[in-house]
Symmetry: C2
Subunit: 190 residues, 2 copies
Amino acid sequence: LADCYAALVHWPVFNKNRSVIASALTTIDLHDLARAARTYGLAGFYVLTPLADQKRLAVDMIAHWQSGPGSQYNTTRSDAVSLVRLADDLVDLRRILTEQYGLSPLVVGTSAQNGAGRIGYQDMAGRLAGDRPVVVALGTSWGLADDAEKQCDLMLAPIEGPTEYNHLSVRSAAAVIFDRLFGRTKRGAL
Amino acid sequence: LADCYAALVHWPVFNKNRSVIASALTTIDLHDLARAARTYGLAGFYVLTPLADQKRLAVDMIAHWQSGPGSQYNTTRSDAVSLVRLADDLVDLRRILTEQYGLSPLVVGTSAQNGAGRIGYQDMAGRLAGDRPVVVALGTSWGLADDAEKQCDLMLAPIEGPTEYNHLSVRSAAAVIFDRLFGRTKRGAL
């Protein structure tokens, strides 16, 4: 299986008025996604923001769970948070992983919207073999802006339940996406 | 398909020392689970706490998204939060639904721990037909205490990824459980 990474994109993303923004980090996204990434065997979890103050905030959050009060309070969370890394954006992340692996990663974008050429979960799960690292890019706020989507080699189909409502939190969406892609590697079919 | 409900149990649950407690409500659990319940077509989402001050807090949170500032800020969240109901605990919820349907609900508990007789997701999905309402009970904090588990007619198998780490947040676990149980009703196999 390829080394797979989650990337939580804070820039460039849409706000609710479809303006392009850098969204704020939230501590709950950070540890919920870290725990899900750890559960599903991901190689790392990149938090993407180019803003220096937001990076400092991320470093503080990580330190809280790794060596601060949180490390005493909850050791399983410290284990998960050890997966967290920082980078500016998907361009920066592609550069980092290309350097590390000698291969440009396959970057898979996610969206609550449908569109042309979206890849299904079973197809995508079938493409996780090989040496090329895989990045699953998750947009915060109202989702990946066009410049972030342009960095994606593939776009996953939106998560659909039996209703037309498609407003999962990024925390819920990430967990479902990881489960669909990585949840059956040990168990075969559910 | 049966009417299915999510129940977020705040009492009785374990804390990290396995003492039985009533845990505190969090606003993020409330709207993350409401959005997931709405996405997956659930009939309602019960927040279970016997504490009067916590019920008042829940009512305030609901009002914020339904008629307060949040209703202007985010209409899709107000739509989801309309599913939220309050009850004391699983005993109270069973009484409410029995009165409403004339049938005692099938209460399905969830746990990060394995145990005897856990039902798998495919088997459980096959039992969602008929008139008897179904409740999926999710424990906050360190999970359902024994008295809560005793109220469950069945226990679902824990969510397992390809690793031994099993510390998903209740927000992530709920989304994955709903996806596994209700995510394929429209689409057939993934």
